[in-house]
């Protein structure tokens, strides 16, 4: 009897492990960065994929923000442990990730895929800017966003203020909408802590992005310096925004929803949260300037190195699955992230959605106005230099020109190893 029971247990274990061995297991490290029900949405996609592909098991690893995922991937690869096959990391990190050998190219998988070429062509060119390094494909857009201007349309109409289209209009609107020096209401909030991303549209709207390619930055270009002066003027001259470096990334959306701030510059990723909370008509527009502008943002899906052909193939299939048009539309409508497939923008589901939610259409309309987000080699050094001196200018410790000259010099020093 005892022998029979033990034999049965042994058989069950062998069969169980044989069944597990048949399955290809892959995992995706995912940064949960905004207040949208992303974990549930992603779990739903993984379940749908596993139902359609019973030979594959997908595990989603939700961890902190983009930086945490990058650290986890680094630690696993450099510690010779098994890294998650797929990871969503910042699109702009592509050069550092490739140089540090933390990611692998999708090239062979895309080429082996019969519809791979058509699929890649359908991905929005604005978002594919950070997908290649040295001509090889490393990133597939996912969870992509844009910097947009949200405004309280009812309040602007009530105060007879037109939606700002130029810097002067934005400054004077912010000043007029500020009540009691900001104690009762701020006209404008734009977080100035680590400010490069929210600042970039101001530079682009003045005709010059802060970088040209992975080895060239334009920090001390006169047009960029002008944009720095304008951001300072928003509080100093127009008295429409909190003065000095202010970390209002988290609080500005809450203040906007509560009617305590009239206009905010923020990510399109906050759209669904804002629409759910606001009790007034929310307007969405590009960042004003000589030309309306925005900047890309968000993550890409990367493939990590050191996996079997079966795992790589399963990973590619999962990437294709979660970036199919219907899921791109579903993800965008549920979160506010921008649809990154051209086919998605033409789909019936999207057309129906924007008919009911014009703010989402406004975000999609901004796509052609977007410049690329700062992406260079030695990104952390370059970004730190820019943020550090821009903060010094905002805090009045240096003039915009002197600050940007210093930022340029430090960034050039960091980039000299690549030139």
């Amino acid at each position: 009897m005892k022998r029979t029971i033990l034999s049965l247990i042994a058989l069950a274990l062998v069969l169980g492990s044989a069944q597990a061995a048949d399955k290809v297991e892959i995992s995706l490290a995912y940064p949960v960065a905004v207040t949208a029900p992303i974990a549930n949405i992603m779990n739903g996609y993984a379940e749908q994929f596993m139902a359609a592909n019973p030979d594959v098991k997908v595990t989603l690893i939700f961890s902190g923000g983009y930086g945490d995922v990058k650290t986890a991937v680094q630690t696993a690869i450099q510690g010779k442990a098994k890294a998650p096959e797929l990871a969503i990391m910042l699109a702009t990190d592509v050069y550092d990730l490739v140089n540090a050998r933390l990611v692998d190219s999708f090239d062979d998988l895309a080429k082996a895929d019969k519809t791979g070429s058509a699929y890649l062509k359908d991905l929005a060119p604005a978002y594919m800017g950070n997908s290649y390094s040295a001509g090889k494909l490393y990133g597939i857009p996912f969870q992509r966003s844009a910097v947009v201007m949200y405004y309280n349309a009812d309040l602007l109409a009530q105060q007879k203020i037109a939606v700002p289209k130029t810097w002067v209009e934005l400054g004077s609107a912010a000043g007029k909408l500020t009540v009691d020096g900001g104690a009762a209401r701020w006209g404008l909030e734009c977080s100035t802590k680590n400010p490069y991303w929210l600042f970039e549209p101001f530079a682009i709207s003045n005709g010059q992005n802060i970088f040209t390619d992975e080895n060239t930055v334009n920090f001390n270009d006169p047009k960029v310096v002008e944009a720095v002066q304008f951001v300072i003027d928003l509080s100093k001259k127009y008295q429409g925004m909190p003065a000095g470096v202010t970390d209002s990334w988290g609080s500005s959306t809450a203040n906007f929803i509560a009617g305590k701030t009239a206009i905010i510059i923020h990510t399109s990723g906050s759209l669904s949260n804002i629409l759910k909370g606001a009790k007034f008509t929310v307007g969405v527009a590009p960042v004003p300037g000589k030309k309306s502008a925005s900047v890309t943002g968000g993550g890409n899906i990367y493939l990590t190195p050191g996996h079997t052909p079966a795992e790589r193939a399963a990973a590619w299939n999962f990437v294709r699955f979660i970036t199919e048009t219907e899921r791109v539309v579903d993800f965008s409508t549920q979160t506010g992230y921008v649809p990154y497939r051209q086919g998605a923008l033409k789909s019936k589901a999207w057309t129906d959605y924007v008919a009911k939610t014009p703010q989402a259409k406004a975000v999609a309309d901004i796509l052609p106005m977007m410049g690329p987000e700062l992406a260079t080699n030695a990104l952390s050094d370059v970004k730190s230099a820019f943020n550090k001196y821009l903060e010094m200018a905002i805090n009045g410790q240096m003039t915009p020109k002197a600050a940007m000259d210093m930022a340029q010099a430090e960034a050039d020093k960091a980039l000299k190893d690549y030139r």
Binding site: G67, K70, T71, Q74, Y95, D96, N99, A100, R101, G182, A183, T192, K193, N194, P242, A243, G244, V245, T246, D247, S251, N377, A378, S380, D381, S384, N387, K388, Y389, E391, M392, I394, N395, Q397, D417, Y418
Partner: protein, 292 residues
């Protein structure tokens, strides 16, 4: 007389020896060796380690950001260690006598120590919020209309970190000093009182010398903790604005995981360990000399 086997003491310290070797000595040795090599993972030509001699040390000590980080760390340690120790000592003295509600006050004062630093920092981030932050509201009650932007002002960001650090650690240090005070022989204090001593002279000449060992131990762990605390930097200031609140351990994390500069990160580790070791040895020697 039969001699005891010599092997037993070695067996007894073996687990600790293995633990210290694997988790302290080997990584430290690896960091010391790595500090003489140039390795930047995101620069193809420096991806693999190459001999750099004292290059990493020279680079760091000529880098204005690193010098600022060293200054910030020095200020942070000098501000938080004496302040939290003085407060801890004061609270320990106040809570050592018997009075009604003693347990309640001990619990209230000790509770920040059991909170994770991330929770404590998040709580304080709310207090520091410009406009409606509790700290600013409190200061306004006293008619203060000064700087509001605690974490965004380069002259106040480090102070904000110090406040969080002191609030979090004082209760923990108080516990050790309270234990020291309770271990003091009451008859000695009684004798001093009979001789007419009391108040501050009694404390400074009799009580404090008797708890000196507890105080030295507490000051050593306070000093080490001040260098090791980093969680609140991630929550409250991220080292900014413009590196005004960047301290050594946070900078080390940035070098290793953001800038992918392994050589420089190893060098900062060696510098950090050297500083801590120098303090601990000095403190230990001073304490031992006093004992003799």
């Amino acid at each position: 007389m039969k001699r005891k086997p010599l092997l037993l003491p070695y067996i007894l310290i073996l687990p600790t020896f293995i633990f210290v070797t694997v988790f302290t000595l080997v990584p430290l040795g690896s960091s010391i060796a790595g500090s003489f090599f140039r390795q930047k993972l995101n620069v193809p030509k420096y991806h693999d380690p190459s001999w750099y001699g004292m290059g990493n040390y020279t680079d760091l000590f000529t880098d204005s950001t690193f010098l600022q980080v060293l200054r910030n760390t020095g200020l942070y340690v000098l501000a938080t260690v004496p302040a939290s120790l003085a407060l801890a000592l004061l609270l320990a003295v106040l809570l050592s006598g018997k009075f009604r509600g003693q347990t309640f006050f001990r619990l209230v004062i000790f509770h920040p120590a059991i909170l994770p630093m991330v929770s404590a920092a998040t709580l304080w981030l709310f207090f520091f919020t410009p406009g409606y932050g509790l700290l600013n509201q409190l200061l306004r009650l006293f008619g203060y209309t000064g700087p509001e932007n605690w974490t965004g002002n380069p002259h106040m960001s480090l102070l904000s970190l110090c406040i969080v650090g002191i609030w979090k650690q004082t209760g923990f240090y108080m516990l050790f000093l309270l234990a020291g005070l309770q271990a003091v022989d009451k008859s000695v204090l009684e004798a001093a009182r009979i001789d007419g001593a009391g108040g501050f002279p009694l404390f400074s000449r009799i009580t404090f010398p008797l708890i000196r060992r507890s105080f030295l131990f507490t000051s050593t762990i306070a000093f080490i903790a001040a260098f090791q605390t980093v969680d609140h930097v991630f929550i409250v200031t991220l080292g900014g604005p413009s590196d005004s609140s960047n301290i050594l351990l946070y900078y080390l994390w940035q070098l290793r995981f953001e800038k992918l500069n392994v050589g420089a990160a190893n060098t900062v580790t060696v510098i950090l360990v050297a500083v801590l070791l120098a303090f601990t040895i000095t403190n230990f020697l001073a304490s031992e000399r006093h004992e003799r």
